[in-house]
Amino acid sequence: MKKICSLLMICCLLAGMLCGCGSTDSGGSQAEDGTTTITIWHDKEDAIIAVLEERLKVLAPEINIVFEKKSDLTEALKMVGNDPKAAPDMYFFAHDKIGVYAEMDILAPITDIIPKEELDQYMDSTIAAATYKDEIYQLPIYYETLLFMYNRLYMDDSEVPETTEELYAYMEENTKGGHYGFVEQHSTPYYAAGWINGFGGYILNEDGVPGLDDAKTIAAVEYHKKFVALMPGETEYATVNTLFSEGMAHSTIAGPWMIPTVRAQGMDVGVAPMPVIDETGTPIAPYMGVQGIQVLKFAAENKKDAVEQVLRVLMEPEVGVELAQASGCAPANEACYELDEIKSDEVVMAMKETAESAVPMPNIPEMDVMWTVAGNFLTDVNMSGKDVAESAADAQKEAEKLIESMQ
């Protein structure tokens, strides 16, 4: 009889466990026991979430934080953002989709919860990135820019190019025998944007107007071609990263996420400021992505106190420091840069320097169509050898057509 009872208990336990496997339900404001659950969707690595979880433990047991990793976060949010039963209360993601969700009317301005003056502690560029149509929709946590990296086995600190012409001379001298002086994803808009922005051109301006046929954009792409000629033809993400990490390329422009990987492989990797473009006197100016917390409207209206407490914990400068230490993130909070832990971090400080000339990635919905159009334009020019001005005109028309169809 005892065995039967045990079996029944196991079955009940199993059934109970399975009941817990239901879908996200962040609806309602408070559970019967007075606790509030805040569900946060994200797409981040474990080290980052571990820091946030640990920090937010201070709110337990009154506020229970649940982080849910979503590989298809942006699409899922488009589908369920309006459904309080399926949507999260907040999501932790890059700023560039803010416009899409603000237009869907699923986001609450952060200033509905945190007074605007308290956001003065954040870097201006991160607040600019978080702003859409004059409303701030994101609490910035950290930002990312591309960095100029070099392998010290091949490139001495004294050889690091300060200008693009120095970079070109270095490439000419060292691209031989199957090794490359410099590689980058030359035909990927996110990477080529640094050159275009540095020339004063643009892929899409803040009014949602494409700038592929802008004279400065064309000049940038034209100038960039001579560098492309000294790189491998195929330069998608894996190829470029592998060329650099396996010691077949001396230098690259890549994201900070590359650094732990190459260091683990034993590379003595150096990080330097972006070379200054000789033609314009300004550095290569890559896009800046700001990672932060966005609050969904339903949560802002129904769980305002809990949401505010979560945001206030995440505003503490120590969070930025711990994220920098855990994953090399550059804090968005200016106060972090007064602390020794940050000041002594070579990579974070290089990102801060690059961020001064970086351009926040456009956060308006029109950017969605620009990635493909700009990518095809760069492929036509860099890989198919087509005329830059003609390709730019064609791409501009295509972009305008697609944006018009979005209206």
């Binding site: 079996l7 025998g177 890989m383 050898g385």
Partner: protein, 393 residues
Amino acid sequence: MNKWMKKISALLAMMLLVLTFIPTAVSAAETGSDEKVAVYVRVPEDWSNPCVWAWDEDGTNAFEAWPGEEAEADQANEGWYYIWIPSWATHVIVNANEGEVQTDEQILEGKNAWITISAADQVEVSYEQQTTGDIPEYVEKFVVHAQVDESWENPCIWAWSAPDGTNAFEAWPGYALSDDGDGWYSAKVPVWVNSIIINANEGAVQTEDISIDAAEVWVTVDAEGKSDFSYVDPNKEEVPNITVHVTAPADWEAPCLWAWSAPDGTNVYSTWPGEALEEGDGWLTKEIPGWVNSVIVNANEGTVQTQDISIETGKDIWVVVTDAENYEVSYEEPTTSTAAVETKAADATEEADTAADVTETEESNHTVLVVVIVLVVLIAAVVIVMAVKKNKK
């Protein structure tokens, strides 16, 4: 029932054991690090160019091929040679005369060791320093391969660091390259070297200064001393061409193939979108070099395309493209293209259902939940009935 419980307990215990073992295995792998130890050898007079062959207890070799790596003469201690080996390589054989003479296997303790060899079978290992002065620092090295003209005898390498001019070897003509027996000679040089000269005939003939990266490199030299080099092994076996077979969606006009080798980025075609696929035996086909490991099928002048498709080198492939996001690769001709059609149909249905799926997540989860609970209860009931019957017996 007791038997069952015992079996379940044993299974749980095994799982626990495996779980406990995982961290141990990981830490063992982690400690198999880059740490090096010095092995000094003193060999009989008739043993020339002593080498050390080393491995660990699992049989992992420290060096690529027998006879291992040549030990370097210690200038400060005549008669002694030294070599740095990974600390995990605790099993060594010292050999010389191109592997013709050798000791028995010696088991070391993973720390600096001095091996005195009086004869092949008379070996003494000591962990007390037998040499005077400091042990030379470990310097990482890379291999320089050289292929020289027949008229070049006893080729040597001279190596230095520019512009400071630090030399890797004491005196010109430098270090004698060893004959690898395949028409190539080789030697190792320190990673701080960035300039070399290949010379021969006691330094009477030589190349110009060659600037290189600190990476394994193959240098070819003609009779006049003109040189060229590559960081890619030119001896790599040539892989025969392969044929790519493709079926593309009906609305893809003029399908093309783009092909390259990752990660080096060597393209087969100079410009996108590559070359047009040709009509063949029910498939669109294209012959491409066997070294290709990545392809993209595209059409409509490159405006539609698949993702990067990774393929195995040297094998004919059949690619069934159903749309820009979906494709299937096989290394044998599929018997029918029905599968592809089915995949496409399934994908279309899936896409159409996606929105509904998301909004109906809760409902569908509940249905699954009910089914699972019913199943669990049914299984439990069967188990209980069986147990009761067994108890009655």
